[in-house]
């Protein structure tokens, strides 16, 4: 869902940019004094600048409401399942791999050797959450399983020649 929104937003803004650049390139054939252009378009820039700042502020506030590494607000009073994950070249050890739909899991992720990624893919192979597995540290994030099926775990940080084969599975019933 997030990926789709970001994809369309990117496409929209890039097309908008292309139209503006194309329009300016097309209008460059005409010649006009620069002074009135500066006066007029500096005014427009102020409005454009303010709008951009406001847009960024709105997006910032909206996107910072809930962070994936904080316990989600909807699980207050509900038991969160802690899962310990240890990555190594080239696999994962999880102390629990079977869950039920609706379970909220706290993944505590570390590694025995080099830095790895811990990326969770839903049954449709959409990335639904991730963190880094770093030596000497434990990174944490929360995930609520909202559909049944087999979830794949892929390494998302380059860790050596078998990086692309470093994966495991979790089953949600």
């Amino acid at each position: 869902m997030i990926q789709l929104i970001v994809w369309y937003a990117t496409l929209l803004f890039i097309i908008l940019l292309a139209v503006v650049f194309g329009w300016v390139a097309f209008s460059s054939k005409k010649k006009q004094d620069y002074a009135p252009i500066i006066k007029r378009w500096y005014k427009a820039r102020s409005i454009y600048g303010v709008l951009l700042v406001v847009l960024m502020l709105v997006v910032t506030i909206y996107t910072l409401r809930e962070l994936p590494f904080n316990e989600p607000s909807h699980v207050e009073g509900v038991e969160v399942i802690p899962v310990h994950v240890e990555a190594f070249q080239f696999g994962f050890e999880l102390n629990m791999t079977e869950f039920s739909v609706g379970d909220t899991v706290e993944f505590n992720v570390t590694t025995k050797d080099v830095t790895h990624g811990f990326g969770v893919y839903d049954p449709d192979m959409v990335l639904v959450g991730q963190t880094q597995a770093m030596p000497e540290y434990t990174n944490t994030f929360y995930l609520t399983f909202d559909q049944p099926g087999t979830y794949q775990v892929l390494c998302l940080e380059y860790c050596g020649l078998a990086h692309h084969m470093m994966m495991t599975e979790m089953v949600v019933k």
Partner: protein
């Protein structure tokens, strides 16, 4: 007829960079075709290509951007040509070591070489490979550092301090706007500051890795190492566009006959860029939850803010200066104008991905190379070739022809093809840096690989133009010598 001082060195430097870039594109195409299931040369070769592609592209971009900065800054302050030449020597030496490290000793730790990967390869490469690669990288950095120090020296000598080079005395009202330093000086000052910080971080982390490779009993903090690595990599990669954008200010201004003045808004924007470029790198660590939460939030907020100077000042300025200017479009100015589109377009997916909740499901997918292939491929590379065409347009017998114009269109479409193939892959959750892909991820990779082949053809045409120019130039010099 004599070339202006340093121009021939600059052209040589640009040609080395351009040759490197097209070669690295070749590795990029091979990787995409392997991911698409079209060819299969095995994971070991894939990750060697990955390492050389990333290192070579950044190295080539840095070399080209340094040439652009040096060329224009030298018009305002007195720079040392010997230092520039020494940089090329160190660069070539470093690149040779990197090539030996990657292909002879099979080092494939990627150009981001996250500690402790260089020392723990699971048998893929040994001490010699890691050391040759890391020392080679350090030599390239050393070359850049001496150019920066020379630039900093020259700016301080003429303007009094780096702060004055950024126009702080104009911002604070101590000096009039019309006496502000030119755009090329302001941008160069910013680059001197941020790149020196980047190279300092890089040197520390490279040396720590070198010691760890030699003696694994010596360890250091992985989180600190990661911070230093991304401070180095992020700032260095970003600074290439801040060096190369000097070509935009100078070339668009000359091509339109309109001044690109350093006014207060412009100077404030560059001070913002100086600060933000150095401190936004934590957006590379948004999935390291052990980082202080405030640092991650600051990483997001400042990444958003970092888009403002380019979106509101530089790109807007480029549009204004071209608007109804009666400009006669030539290859140089066309590429330069296109580069501003590439830069701003590349900023959009980057800004969106720096939101923590977005990054949580897009970090280390192919969305990330999607943004920087647009930013670097359609931004920095367009600036590089725009500058090359501009540099020779007034003193040569070979005029760009229909083939060059065809190459311009082919370049634009094909780099967009490459970038959008990555973005599409990222949107469907395809991981980056994977030697093979599941079947459902292969189609965009094949599209990207084919686009990359067309991109190489376009870049090849650009390069052939300069090789023809150099050959003609040498002939002219021979004739001049005979007449003399």
């Amino acid at each position: 007829m004599r070339m202006e001082k340093g121009k021939s060195t600059i052209i040589q430097q640009l040609i080395i960079a351009a040759m490197m870039i097209i070669l690295m594109m070749g590795f990029g195409v091979l990787m995409l075709l392997q991911q698409g299931g079209v060819v299969d040369f095995g994971p070991a070769a894939f990750y060697q290509f990955l390492t050389i592609h990333g290192t070579g592209m950044i190295g080539g971009a840095v070399l080209a951007a340094t040439a652009i900065m040096w060329y224009f800054l030298n018009k305002y302050v007195k720079l040392s040509l010997s230092v520039l030449k020494l940089n090329i020597v160190l660069f070539v030496l470093g690149v040779v070591m990197i090539i030996v490290g990657v292909f002879a000793f099979e080092f494939s730790g990627s150009w981001t070489f996250l500690y402790p990967l260089p020392a723990i390869s699971s048998g893929a490469w040994g001490t010699a490979g890691a050391l040759t690669y890391l020392i080679g990288l350090q030599l390239v950095g050393l070359g850049l550092l001496i150019v920066l120090l020379d630039a900093g020296r020259a700016i301080i000598q003429k303007y009094g301090s780096l702060g004055k080079g950024l126009g702080w005395d104009v911002i604070t009202g101590k000096k009039r706007e019309q006496d502000a330093p030119p755009a090329a000086v302001v941008a160069s000052t910013m680059v001197v500051i941020v790149d020196t910080a980047a190279l300092l971080s890089g040197t520390i982390v490279i040396f720590m890795n070198i010691i760890h490779v030699i003696n694994p009993a010596f360890t250091f903090d992985p989180l600190l190492a990661k911070n230093l690595t991304f401070a180095f990599g992020h700032i260095l990669a970003n600074s290439t566009i801040y060096m190369a954008v000097i070509a935009v200010y100078e070339i668009l201004s000359r091509s339109t006959g309109r001044p690109w003045k350093s006014n207060k808004a412009f100077l404030i924007a560059w001070t913002m860029s100086t600060l933000f470029t150095m401190i936004v790198y934590p957006h590379h660590l948004l999935q390291d939850t052990v980082m202080p939460t405030w640092a991650l939030i600051v990483g997001q907020v400042l990444s958003f803010a970092n888009g403002l100077p380019v979106l509101v000042i530089t790109a807007y300025g480029a549009l204004m200066i071209v608007y109804k200017s009666g400009i006669k479009w030539r290859m140089g100015s066309s590429l330069i104008f296109l580069s501003m589109f590439g830069w701003t377009a590349g900023v959009i997916p980057a800004i969106l991905d720096s939101a923590i909740m977005v990054n949580h499901v897009m970090h280390n997918t192919k969305w990330v190379p999607g943004h920087f292939h647009m930013y670097m491929g359609l931004g920095v590379i367009a600036m590089l070739f725009g500058f090359m065409y501009y540099l020779v347009q007034n003193d040569q017998s070979i005029r760009p022809n229909q083939l060059d114009r065809f190459a311009f269109c082919l370049y634009t479409l094909s780099i967009l093809g490459v970038s959008f193939s990555f973005l599409t892959s990222g949107a469907i959750s395809t991981p980056r840096k994977f030697a093979t892909h599941f079947e459902q991820w292969q189609a965009p990779a094949i599209f990207g690989g084919v686009s990359g082949i067309f991109l190489m053809i376009a870049i090849g045409i650009f390069i052939i133009y300069f090789i023809r120019y150099m050959v003609n130039r040498n002939k002219d010099f021979s004739v001049e010598k005979e007449i003399a």
